[in-house]
């Protein structure tokens, strides 16, 4: 995180991997599904209105961190990619939400 030392200290508890608008929206969207459910790449892209390349980049980062898991399946027309939130990813999002809540509670308006 860039910025003043105060800003750096303030944002320290926030997971930098999640603290990016697109990745935050990806995790929140996947977290709205029931545990163990997967979402197709196409539906996720439509919901978030991201370009395929942009979405792939963010998904790779989240997958490298173990927050999501992607799998390719044959759907009759070709290979389809679907993604699911891992237990680690759900826990990370919960921790991020809690940290954000604490942070905003401490911030003066």
């Amino acid at each position: 995180m860039k910025g003043s030392s105060m800003t750096t200290n303030t944002l320290e508890p926030l997971d930098p991997l999640i603290h990016v608008p697109a990745r935050l929206r990806i995790l929140v969207t996947l977290a709205a599904l029931n545990e163990g459910d997967t979402l197709s790449f196409t539906r996720l892209q439509n919901m978030l209105d991201l370009t395929p390349g942009n979405l792939i980049t963010h998904l790779r980062k989240l997958e490298d961190a173990g927050y999501i898991k992607s799998e390719k399946t044959w759907d009759g027309n070709g290979l389809a990619t679907s993604v699911t939130l891992t237990i680690r990813g759900r826990a990370a999002l919960e921790a991020y939400t809690e940290a954000l809540r604490n942070l905003l509670g401490g911030l003066t308006p």
Binding site: L14, A22, L24, A32, L33, T38, L39, G53, L100
Partner: protein
């Protein structure tokens, strides 16, 4: 993932930007609301349309066609056309909404829905088979079609839904199912007119209350 042409451009998009925590909280909240709305297979509006259509107008039409009968002679044909037409429209609308909400979603929840569909089908078919058996055994039209018809199949379907919601610990939905079972059961004491009229009106009110509670919960979430 087959499209990778703008990956490099995207790699830096939004990365390392100083996202304000307040802005992050706003994004989180908006994304949560949007996801819940888009994944919801039973949006409140659809519930209201279903309630008003099937119970108020469908059951109401059957009740209206019989309300001045001194001796039971059954509902008018037009009222049954209205009832089954509304049931068909409601089922199609519900199916379209559910398919839209679950498009691209697979996994355990999808398999659960298929199993639940089988449970509902078994309950409904079982109730209707018993209805046929009652008539076959000589039970009067008044009981078989006037009292049993509008209530028992509904109770059977609501009981399956109650079981599913009890397992999921969905207390609001469980309350709705119990409310429908209670209304339909009590209405049988009042003969064919009560069974159609009270079940229609009571279930409509229960479902409207459910839709209102859902909307309040969505706004609070």
């Amino acid at each position: 993932m087959t499209v990778i042409d703008d990956t490099n451009q995207a790699a830096s998009a939004g990365e390392g930007a100083d996202l304000d925590p307040r802005e992050a909280a706003k994004i989180l909240d908006q994304a949560k609301r949007q996801a819940r709305r888009q994944f919801d297979p039973h949006p409140p509006l659809a519930v209201v349309v279903g309630a008003a259509g099937v119970f108020l107008f469908g059951y109401g039409a059957v009740w209206w066609s019989m309300h001045d009968q001194v001796v039971y002679s059954g509902p008018a044909g037009w009222s049954l056309v209205v009832l089954y037409g509304l049931i068909a429209v409601s089922a199609i609308a519900g199916s379209v909404a559910s398919r839209g909400a679950t498009a691209g979603v697979s996994g355990r929840a999808r398999r659960q829905r298929q199993v639940q569909g089988a449970a509902f089908a078994a309950a409904g078919i079982g109730a209707w088979v018993i209805q046929g058996a009652l008539r076959y055994r000589g039970v009067s039209f008044e009981i078989v079609y006037g009292v049993y018809g509008p209530t028992v199949p509904l109770i059977a379907l609501a009981a399956v839904a109650a079981g599913i919601n009890a397992v999921r610990e969905e207390w609001l939905q469980l309350s709705v199912c119990i409310g429908i079972i209670a209304v339909a059961s009590v209405s049988t004491f009042f003969g064919p007119l009560g069974a159609w009229g009270l079940t229609g009106l009571g279930c409509c009110l229960v479902l409207l209350a459910y839709a209102a509670a859902l909307m309040v919960r969505q706004r609070r979430a």
